[in-house]
Symmetry: C2
Subunit: 141 residues, 2 copies
DNA sequence: CAATAAAAGCAACAATGTTGCATTATATTT
DNA sequence: AAATATAATGCAACATTGTTGCTTTTATTG
């Protein structure tokens, strides 16, 4: 399969010029099923690219709706591919995230939809983020 | 009201020696209804205390179950008081968190219980974190 | 292929988080 | 209440992470 072409097309579809760093970093996300922390990406792509480029590329991808960031409680933001055809400046992922406490991987559980939350009177909802911690399917004994 | 005494007692109840920095930082949490970012605390208490002390005090409070950390998607961990009588090394807060996109405050909605999440086969749940973004009751127009 | 626009690289800096150790404060014991 | 043991603080130095301005390089367009 000609994945390389797919990557170029993803970039073009998002009105991004095709550069080596963008191809490489997007490739990382496609190859890796789980989420990637900035540090992971910097380690895997950082030999070839400047740290600043990694930061800016990730930011660009988030802005374009190619990846989304996943909240954590320990100051280590992670990113994963958007699968819900997010558009520029408007993410609408509806899946939950799962963090394995054993292998520390983060997964997007695309089939698990975020639940409705009934808020107290006066609060309005724009976006709901659900992160479940537990043992993933690869680590269960 | 003699709040000072309460603070000392909270510390003692958690087998912590009563020190000026712990009193001050715990006071901040009690006075402030929402969550506090590390930066907030450092700014409010940092004139009197060393940055390192703030880090260590927060870590101690988390370990003891006095405060809990709230995940965010932008690398700015926030902390809030535990109200569900968490014990040392074992948090069992069951409330959701609400981040106002207008005033940027984070609230613990103690009355809103985290929903059940049905995970795919093979995944087991240890902890569920729900963060809702929207407009809070103080900012609604 | 040249011109234009955009991205990458570089350097310097700012902010955030960590560690070891000497000093100081707290709690405990007598 | 003072001495002692224990624990927390402050300090310095360092490591990591994130940001900004500017120059050079690369990609796209005609």
């Amino acid at each position: 399969m000609n994945m390389e072409k797919d990557i170029k097309e993803i970039l073009k579809k998002n009105q991004l010029s095709v550069t080596a760093s963008r191809e490489k970093i997007l490739q990382l996300f496609i190859d890796h099923s789980g989420a990637l922390a900035h540090g992971d990406i910097e380690r895997k792509a950082g030999e070839k690219f400047d740290r600043v480029t990694v930061y800016r590329t990730l930011q660009t991808f988030v802005d374009k709706g190619i990846i989304h960031s996943i909240p954590t409680a320990d100051n280590s933001v992670r990113y994963a591919l958007c699968k819900d055809n997010c558009e520029q400046g408007h993410h609408h992922d509806q899946h939950i995230h799962f963090v394995c406490t054993n292998c520390n991987n983060t997964y997007c559980l695309d089939d698990v939809v975020t639940p409705q939350i009934r808020l107290p009177k006066g609060y309005s909802t724009e976006h709901i983020e659900v992160v479940v911690e537990g043992i993933c399917i690869n680590c269960k004994s």
